[in-house]
Every structure is written in C-alpha cells, then in structure tokens.
C-alpha cells in the first residue's frame, strides 16, 4: 500500500536500516562475553513477546492480561514433546506449540473478544490463572515440580534462534499491519469499531485472528525459552509477571507502533538485569515496574519511540484504548 514516492523512499530507508541492524546483531556474539550474550538473548526474547502483545493491545486496542498462558503453552508443548518417552527434536516441537496456542486463542478469543475493556482484561487474566493452576496439578506438566528438558548448552544457538524468531516476528507484523487488508481492518476496528463494521469489516473475526497471531508468536518464544533454560515450572512460564512485563514494555516503547515495543523491551530488560545484579533478586523490580507504568502514562504517552521519530497521536491512542475500560 505504499502508493506515493515519499512512502516508497521511506520504506527503502527502513529496509536498509533493518538490514544494517540485522547485520550488526549478527556479529554481536563475537564481541561480548557469555554473560552479556545471555542478557542480549533475553532482550531479543522480550522484544518478540512485546511485539506479540502489541498486536492485540496496540493494534486491536484490547488489553490482554492472559498472554502468559500462551507463553506457557509454548514452553510446555516443547517440554512435553522432548521428554524421554516422545523424544522429538526441538525444532520439530515449534510447529505444534504454535498451532496449539493458535487453537486455544481462537477458542478463548471467540467469546472473550466480544467483551469490552476491563471485562476482556479480567476474562483473559482469569483464563491465564486457570491454566497456570491446571499446570500445577496435571501429571503431564510435572505439577509444581515442573519439567526438565534435555540440556543443550550452546549460547550461540539460542542467541541466533531468538534473533531469527524476533526478526521474523517484527518483519512479519510490520508487513501485515502496514501492507495488508488484515492490518487495515485491525487499525480500523481499534479506532472506531461501529464504523469499521459499517464498511463491511467482520470485526469479531479480525479480533480473533489478531489474538491467534499474537498467541502464536508468544508460544514460539515460550518454546525457545523452555529449551534455553532446560527447566520449567508453572510460575516460571505462566506467572502473571510475564504478561505484566509485556504490557509495560509496549507502553514504555510506544503502544501501537512497530518498533516501539522492541525499544521498550530492551530498556526494561536491561533495567531488570541491572536491578537483579545489584540487589540480588527481582522483588525490587516490581515497584520499579509500577513506577514506570505511572510515569509513562503521565509524562510519555507516546512512548520512548516518540523521542526518536515523533508520534502525534500517542496520548489520544492510549485514551481511546483506556476509554474501553
């Protein structure tokens, strides 16, 4: 849909910038120590997760507090399929993870995405809690004891896997949102749902599609995370902090923007790691998270990305989504 020369030039510039950025990220492991590499790998994962949440929160305008469930679905699917009895290779578990998450999202999204604002947020939160509690009592998930995965101690593999997943997520979402009917449908329903329907857009279907896409990306990162950490339990892959962090990363970086969530994820993850290394645990991190939410809404409604590229409509966009509450 780039129909004028200015847009074409802008897109060529963006593509060149992306190519340079990917090249730079590709050589990062050669210049940093293993500990720093783990932090950068984590930043890539959180960037991908923020990108996934942004599809529903930023583009559809529905605040989900249930995304930790999809992260957990991805993690547990990979863990279960790699257990001794089944023994699937890691890469072969990715497709089932993504497909299961999409199916669950479609089932849950069908009824819940007819709800508005706080009702949708509560419904998704309840769904995630329910799934987490289920994981603590089922044998197949290992209950509270969790599951161990075959160890593969190759940091380079996980770095490049996370990089590939994050790059594919961002570029895929960018293309879908900016250039396809799906993206226009999604942005239209966010801005004015009755008007979107009056133009023939089947809004309930589009919302479920967006939810399923978002869930698929989240599950993909859950799968990689499980193999990376080699051990998972319900709290580590389905805890509510996972969703909270996605939400704050997107708000901090720039709600409803393509690259804002990546920026927010990197800044927040580095802050997280700094606090962890300084104070020894992440309990201190939670009030910091709350403070960041308040500061962003009050003083930086456009997100950090607006300091770089400038967005004119951040405050109105946040207001529009919050008005649904």
């Amino acid at each position: 849909m780039a129909s004028n020369p200015g847009q074409v030039r802008g897109n060529l510039f963006r593509l060149a910038a992306i190519a340079v950025g990917l090249l730079a990220l590709g050589v990062v492991p050669a210049f940093i120590d293993p500990y720093s590499l783990r932090i950068v790998t984590g930043a890539l994962m959180w960037a991908g997760l923020a990108c996934a949440w942004n599809i529903v929160g930023g583009y559809a305008g529905y605040i989900s507090f249930g995304h930790s469930a999809f992260f957990g679905i991805g993690a547990y699917t990979t863990a279960i399929l790699m257990q001794a009895g089944i023994g699937m290779p890691f890469l072969a578990t990715l497709l089932p993870s993504v497909v299961i998450a999409m199916i669950v999202a479609a089932i849950i999204g069908g009824p819940t995405m007819r709800l508005r604002g706080a009702y949708f947020a509560i419904a998704t939160w309840a769904f995630a809690e329910m799934l987490m509690q289920l994981a603590t009592i089922l044998d197949i998930t290992g209950g509270t004891g969790g599951l161990s995965l075959p160890a593969y101690l190759n940091e380079f593999f996980f770095y490049y896997t996370m990089l590939a997943a994050a790059a594919a997520s961002f570029l895929g979402v960018w293309y879908l949102i900016e250039y396809t009917r799906f993206g226009f449908r999604l942005k239209a329903l966010r801005d004015h749902e009755p008007a979107a329907e009056a133009m023939g857009i089947r809004t309930n279907l589009v919302k479920v599609q967006a939810f399923a896409l978002s869930a698929a990306i989240t599950a993909l990162f859950g799968s990689v995370f499980a193999y990376w950490t080699t051990y998972i339990d319900p709290m580590s892959v389905m805890g509510p902090e996972i969703t909270d962090q996605m939400v704050v990363m997107v708000l901090l970086g720039g709600l409803g923007t393509i690259w804002g969530p990546a920026l927010g994820a990197v800044v927040l993850w580095i802050t997280n790691r700094y606090i962890w290394s300084t104070f020894g645990d992440t309990v201190v991190y939670l009030p910091v998270l709350g403070l960041i939410i308040a500061m962003v809404v009050l003083f930086l409604p456009n997100g950090l990305i607006s300091l770089i590229v400038g967005r004119r409509r951040g405050r109105e966009l946040i207001s529009r989504i919050l008005r649904k509450f």
């Binding site: 009917r181 009755p194 329907e197 133009m199 857009i201 089947r202 109105e316």
Partner: protein
Amino acid sequence: MSSPAIKTSSADKSPLVLESVVKRFGGVTAVAGVSLVVAPGEVVGVIGPNGSGKSTLFSLAAGGLPVDEGRIWLDGVDVTGQPTWRIARSGIGRTFQIPSLFDNMSVRENLLAAAVEGDWKGAPVRAEEVAEMLQITHVINNLASELSGGQQKLLEFGRVCMRDPKVILLDEVTAGVHPNIRRIILEVIRRLRQTGITFLIIEHDMEMVREICDRLIVMNMGEVVAEGSFDDIASNVEVQQAYLGRQS
C-alpha cells in the same frame, strides 16, 4: 398518519425496501412501523424534529441496530437480522451524525481502509480519485483527527464512496459545514446519482433538501407523517404543526 404496509418479496428489486419496521428502546417506540420503498437513483430526504427516529431508522437500515418487527430488503434480498458487516457488503454505505473517522490513521489510510472488503489492488488509485473528487487531496497525508469539521464530513463521505455502494445513507452530512464544502457534497451527490446510486439523506438544511431531493418523508414520534415532493410537504398542515411547530 401510519405508514401503509408494503407488499414486497425477494423478487422486488428496489435498492432499499423497509416494511413496517419497528424499534423500541424499553418503553419508548423510536420507530413505529415505518415502511419505505426507494427507487434506483432516487434521492430521498428524511426530515423531522430531533428525536423523531430518523437516525434510528438509518441504523436499522444499515444493521447497526436490530429491528424488533418488520423486514428490510436490499436489492430484493431480505437482510433483516443480518450483522452490520454483512449488510454493508450487500451494498449499503452510511455516514454517521458525528463523523466516525479512524483518528490515528491518515486521510489516505482512512480511504484505503474503506476498500479492504472490495477492490484492494485498485484502492490506492481509487483513493486518489475520491480525494480529488472531494477536494481533500491537499490533506491526504494528514491524520484524520487533524482535519476541520467540514473536512471530516468530506472524508467520511469519501470513505463511503470508496466502496461503490448501491445505497448511500447520509446523516446530516452538511450540518455545520462551510458553504464551499456543502457545494462539493451536493455536486458529488448529483454525480453519483447519475450512476444509479440511491441516496437516503437526513437533513435539516431545507435549501439543500429542496435542491437535491426527489422526494421527502417527514417523521415525527417514530412515524412517517407525510411523504411527497418538497412543495407538497411545505404546504402540508400536519407537517407545519409537527415539524415547524406552527399553526396554519
């Protein structure tokens, strides 16, 4: 005056037929058995005092509200009870009393968004044509929220034009706009009706109604109280009492 019942069927190919349509909100009957047949290329004005049920009638025709009784036919197809998106795809386009734009999208993107269920490949060219027709090319890259009130009305009308509907419902499209913008809107309505597009227009501007409408229906308290040409309506005693609030 209650509306006469209309004998119609799916064989009746009128672009829009409303048959004894009723809508109630609790104990209030907003639309009380309205029947209406609109011919191809006809421009029908809907007038009446505030609260007479005009906008509700539009919402019923476009599927924004479900009817409690009666039937609605589009091009001979019964669309009663269908969801809004399906009725829209059947060939009906509408504007709202308060412009309902996609504020975080540019004018161009607003126009493109209107074509997502139609000719998507041809949409960029069509958007340029529509912007030119409505004389909003100079603001095509602006955000919709940055437009003036009149430009917002033009953009909303433009979004409807992008979809090439068979029936267009315009809800006070010239209310509060500059005379130049009013002139542009009138010209576009005239041009489109020549292509066979049918219009149903809610309007308080009697000059515009006189200029553009082939026929008027007057609503009061949810009912059609009169129907006919502008001159017939202007001399109708019941209309003068109900709408203009004066005794003859």
